[in-house]
Subunit: 260 residues, 2 copies
């Protein structure tokens, strides 16, 4: 199983949209995908209409002494082959609850290990804040995707995010590979192109060579609770995420597994 | 001095844009305004090109045993009459650092009290996460503004945010008055109008009767580091925030203070 985390401390850059869109495409390509909602705000859980208020079976259970089988925490969605471990509002208390305790950064990774025969991919959606949940997601992942808007205000935040990745990587003694993905890209806005070039100048080997364009169909898809590729195979947003999944090159060749 | 906090656990809804835009309008109306950047990610600090990396004089100092004058923490911006207490990345460690300690919710409010003769308004920008910083901002404020996008995905998050306000209000034994403000409103998107009516049905006395429209000039303003009203008095975004400031009716009548 390959694990991917979608992170950025800036809010509203398309983290949840990226996690859901990539999962939708991988499932259409017949892979088995687990989405993990590590955001206390639970956008991904709401997206699939899994009411997370009363959820005993959530990511929070993993941090609350849950000892039995991790697959009991998994919920199905209306999309065949796409499962979710839901969020819980209680996740907002984790940083306070765990305080300065060491060794709490590997809890999510160890739990996902137990599911590695069940899924080809796990994609973790993160909250827009540096804390124990983001560190757990990074520790559990083989690759990071950092969505970013091509605007001046986002540039400083991107530097902060890259520094955070370096810091967590040192703390975990683990090489964290990441790709920067421009989202909500609007060719008509003059400054978008300039910002893109500034990012390319600073992170030439980490910036994806494509962009995710602005597409109103993302909102339509989220209001009916399906990934954009389920709503429309030819939407601009769908085609862009297809290219992103291709270029991440972490797609395992299907032949190693009997089709189930 | 009147204190306003801009809060929502959902990321990217226009919290920083709302704080900056309202401050810009109040300053043009000759009020003295203090912006407080309580977000570890520091979007507001970056907006005004106050590099927050090495900042000793930041909001973090208040939580780190700072004992001398609070006005030493204030930085000027290029806009006359508009000052800022900057953010610091160290704020990301606060929840962990303060852990379960009680009584840490009033630190920001007590500090701002010391500045009440210097400013007519203080506007606090918050991170998109429930934690000690958001609680401090709520405790310090006379009124809350909750920016929200008119989309289905945001509705569940709004319910969560309103529940959070009720919870914090009970914990602080203080009535927290709030107004829900639709942002990035796009009349062309079919579901916008439907969402607005759903919010109106649920929170009739709390929903503002206007909307902040989508306006590309917000991004232009942020790339040059000024509020939108400084860039253009006639921009749609400027006019909408003028109406919002009017309808918050917390604008003190200037006559009570000698013009300084
Ligand atoms: N490429 C796009 N084009 C148009 N709209 C988009 C695009 N990507 C995301 N959106 C919309 O932008 C909003 C924010 O996206 P999303 O919630 O995925 O961001 P996020 O980074 O997960 O936010 P948070 O920080 O709150 O977790 C949503 O309304 C979503 O539908
Ligand atoms: N009414 C609007 N029209 C168009 N763009 C807008 C509008 N309001 C905000 N924006 C843009 O949307 C993006 C997000 O806004 P902003 O950073 O203010 O949100 P936020 O809620 O503060 O995010 P965070 O959760 O990261 O703190 C910015 O690029 C901003 O310029
Ligand atoms: Mg999200
Ligand atoms: Mg902000």
């Amino acid at each position: 199983m390959k694990v991917l985390a979608v992170v950025n401390q800036k809010g509203g850059v398309g983290k949840t949209t990226t996690a859901v869109s990539m999962a939708g495409i991988l499932v259409q390509r017949k892979h088995r995908v687990l989405l993990v909602d590590a955001d206390p705000h639970g956008s991904l859980t709401s997206y699939f209409h899994l009411d997370h208020r009363g959820f005993e079976r959530s990511v929070y259970s993993l941090f609350d002494g849950y000892k039995s089988r991790v697959d009991f925490l998994v919920s199905k969605t209306q999309i065949a082959g796409l499962h979710v471990i839901a969020s819980s509002p209680a996740l907002a208390t984790l940083d306070k609850k765990l305080g300065g305790q060491d060794g709490k950064g590997l809890i999510l990774g160890q739990a996902l290990q137990q599911l590695s025969d069940w899924y080809d991919y796990a994609i973790i959606d993160c909250p827009p804040v540096l804390g124990v949940l983001m560190v757990n997601a990074m520790a559990a992942s083989d690759k990071l995707v950092i969505p970013v808007q091509a605007e001046f205000l986002a540039l400083k935040g991107l530097d902060l995010m890259v520094q955070t990745v370096a810091m967590v990587s040192r703390a975990l003694a683990k090489d964290l590979d990441y790709m920067i993905v421009p989202t909500m890209y609007d060719r008509r806005t003059r400054s978008s192109g300039q910002c893109l070039e500034l990012i390319r100048g600073k992170y030439p080997r980490k910036l994806w060579d494509g962009v995710i364009p602005v597409d109103a169909q993302f909102k339509e898809a989220s209001s009916v609770g399906v990934p954009i590729s389920t709503l429309s195979r030819t939407a601009r947003g769908t085609m862009a995420y297809e290219l992103l999944v291709d270029s991440l090159r972490f797609e395992q060749v299907l032949s190693h597994r009997q089709e189930t």
